[in-house]
Symmetry: C2
Subunit: 499 residues, 2 copies
């Protein structure tokens, strides 16, 4: 067990965690967002971050080291005093500059020592952020370099500063997984999944999910995972559901500079807004005309505040959802913000076996709110369970009441399929369902029937369904007798409703 | 044209309107929410409503009339002074008390005169709020009484006070439509769709949509429609998309009394919250423990403020969406808040012909974000258009590039189906689509193919599709030749991609 991270609650692959940051003397609750502070270009004073609920920030040690005044001030007074922030401070190493400009003038040894000297609480080695879609050879070669840097980092005495172990591998899931396995085997502390910014910029949320899913397969559950450079609130719920714990955002400030206004379902441009679709302190005390009339500095400041308010509120919303066991319901809502977010959600659901390992067996409630709900891990888990049930010789599976004409009568409810009546009050069979069920739900129920029937080759089955569509009935094994409850009149021969 | 209401922008059946309220000397922008003020039990002072963006409130003239002190004060000082509110004030008549207690001690003549005397800007006759699901005879009989009351109301001189014409009819769509047609033919001004509170309380959003859709069919487009008693922000977008303009909310205050905390996707109980999932001024300056520790009055006050902040922010969000042409995208997101909201959205889409009449032909963007997106009015409209196209003798319909082997080559894009390449840059064919398209989208595209083929019986068609599912291919007419682009290798015989 890594002693700097403890998990308090779980939902899907998301968790509420406590990251102990010994050098800062604080424990940070995750998921959390680290605002990026560029010491040369301050948009919101770090002294004000606690108002927003910020517990941790990130700044760039390479920028500080390269600037004579900043370097001297940081070495003399320490980072916390320099930034006037007394939570936890993570520092980046210059890897971003390396990716942008091709070279930097420092080494892992040097920059980690500098980070330690200026009082950083969480330091970062100089990894190689390999972009998406490069040739495999490049991804492999650069990953080897990153691994060497982690080895160097392990050997440096940085006192009680935590040190990150970035995970690279471009868009090759097997490389990401191997990189994660290697990183987890070091004694380093925090695991940033790197070089995802280009995926974010192109709305490639499905690829982001694949990269994160691969990294998670290589990491133990006790590894705190940082999605490096990801800071848009629209994707927090999705990334947390796939197992991310830490985010960082320069976006709240950079977007503000371009008059871009963040929401949980995308980004708007100030010029296009007639109303502020938000209840934050900025948006309830100004309207868009007010803000457009402000001078550049003030406008940038209030937009950055708005961006940070909505981002931190979304972090709280994600944490509330984990506590409540409704994180997938939140992802469902966020998936409708953009077609690429829907791709991301569909990618997430394609990993339902991986998700099932951490997803709690019982939650308060399951809301069926789309065809995607039929692909949730809870449905797969119920189907797996059906393969292990033994039933009597002659079984009625019915959407309505039982019948004495059979040895045994089970309920059938889309999307789960059949289950013994005694389980009716257990999760997820307590799900709230729409009256207007969709094909996906009926088909999943038929798949459940199929699993139970396959597990009991010597039993006879009758399925009494209430007008299931053809596509679902086609999935029911041929040896199951079918009764359509909807086609019988109320005095007909259908099994009685015993409710 | 009714001169008190003017429509400024439309999306789906929703609109931004201006309701001129002459007696108040103000113009109220709709959609809007009228907080209910119970003069005996003030939770938030009406003097503070303008902070929240409230332009209009509603209070109950019957309660005022029955209380000696309130009556005298209202008659002497007028309602605006009594409540210290200088926007528009609507008054209810006691119909709610009639529904609750079976009888009241007033008449339409008397209460309308009283409303006028105390300075109400919008008065209400004593209609009969028939609950859902009653026998048809009761609904019909009570509707006759309501109609008589409207007739009485028409005959009373109430100066420049606007007067409402409530629409009843229980859950009988034909009665609601007839009631609306009758109400619209009066010279009354505002059209409340009444007795929907029981539907709201039971989350019967699909039934709410049916009732509202029926009322809208009986009303002219220039009628301002009030969904009487509906005040939960989770359903504003859905109701506006079906044509509601005004909402009123006692809920912001009543919920607060029970420690209930509203969100745009449902209601939480304060006891269950570890975090406030919200960025409003209350939730960014307090945490749930702070609020739980407050005394009853203060706790009720801050929860009511939160409830009103999120409600008014949702109103702004709805208005922003109408301006942007993205109201259905907002409804898509809200539909994932609860299975019954999904029912409501599916009910809305079942009225797509009705919606199409007001839905703009061109918008900025169409986001395909669920299987329901394939049922949007824009898709139906494109399919209708396909029935009117004439094509050459031998036509290629293809998801990739064209080919010289055919007289003509059209693009095919799910969910729309085929279209001439010249239309590629026109709405809705500019839609943003997921990479992971669903069956519903492919099937809608196949339906489009089918419509074009049926309209051109003498032409020959080849459909070059990229791996469509069987369920979609089954909808393509048998006389269309099929080429699966996905099954050809890249040097194969498939038409070239000309992009």
């Amino acid at each position: 067990m890594r002693d700097s991270f403890e998990i308090r609650a779980q939902d899907v692959a998301g968790r509420i965690g406590e990251l102990r940051v010994p050098r800062a003397g604080v424990t940070v609750e995750t998921p959390t967002l680290l605002p990026v502070v560029n010491p040369n270009l301050v948009t919101i004073d770090a002294a004000r971050f606690s108002e927003f609920g910020v517990e941790m920030l990130i700044t760039n040690s390479y920028i500080i080291k390269r600037d004579d005044d900043l370097r001297e001030a940081a070495l003399e007074r320490g980072l916390h005093d320099l930034l006037d922030f007394h939570g936890a401070i993570m520092t980046d190493s210059g890897s971003f500059q390396l990716a942008e400009y091709g070279e930097i003038e420092t080494t892992t040894e040097e920059i980690l020592a500098f980070q330690s000297d200026i009082g950083s609480d969480v330091g970062t080695p100089v990894d190689i952020p390999t972009p998406p879609d490069v040739e495999r050879e490049q991804a492999e070669a650069e990953l080897e370099t990153t691994k060497e840097r982690l080895h160097v980092a392990e050997g440096i005495d940085t006192g009680d500063m935590l040190v990150t172990a970035p995970i690279q591998g471009s868009t090759y899931p097997d490389l990401r997984e191997a990189a994660a396995r290697h990183a987890y085997a070091t004694d380093l502390d925090v695991f940033p999944v790197g070089a995802v910014v280009p995926l974010m910029n192109e709305y490639r949320y499905a690829d982001m999910v694949e990269v994160l899913a691969a990294a998670k397969r290589g990491l133990g559950a006790d590894a705190p995972v940082h999605l490096f450079g990801a800071g848009h609130p629209m994707m927090f719920a999705l990334a947390v559901a796939m197992g991310a714990d830490l985010f960082d955002s320069a976006a709240y400030a950079i977007y503000a500079r371009d008059d871009r206004y963040m929401t949980v379902s995308g980004t708007e441009h100030l010029d296009d807004l007639e109303y502020f679709p938000c209840a934050c302190p900025v948006c309830t005390s100004h309207d868009p005309d007010d803000v457009r009339a402000m001078d550049d500095e003030r406008r940038e400041g209030v937009l950055a505040e708005h961006n940070l308010w909505v981002s931190m509120a979304e972090i709280r919303r994600v944490k509330a959802a984990i506590h409540e066991g409704s994180l997938l319901e939140l992802v469902e809502r966020r998936a409708r913000g953009h077609p690429r977010m829907l791709d991301g959600y569909r990618a997430l659901l394609s990993h339902r076996d991986q998700l099932e390992a951490s997803d709690p067996v019982s939650k308060d409630v399951f809301f069926y709110v789309s065809a995607e709900s039929a692909d949730r891990p809870e449905v797969a888990r119920h189907h797996d369970r059906l393969s292990r049930f033994e039933v009597a010789d002659d079984v009625l599976l019915t959407e309505k009441g039982g019948s004495d004409d059979f040895d045994e009568s089970w309920r059938v409810v889309p999307p789960f399929g059949p289950f013994p009546r005694a389980l009716s009050q257990t999760y997820p069979l307590t799900a709230e369902l729409p009256d207007r069920m969709d094909r996906a739900g009926y088909e999943a129920a038929a798949e459940g029937v199929s699993r139970l029937v396959a597990a009991n080759p010597d039993s006879e089955f009758t399925l009494a369904h209430d007008g299931w569509p053809e596509s679902a009935l086609a999935l029911v094994p041929a040896r199951v007798a079918l009764v359509d409850l909807g086609s019988e009149d109320s005095n007909g021969t259908a099994p009685e409703d015993e409710q």
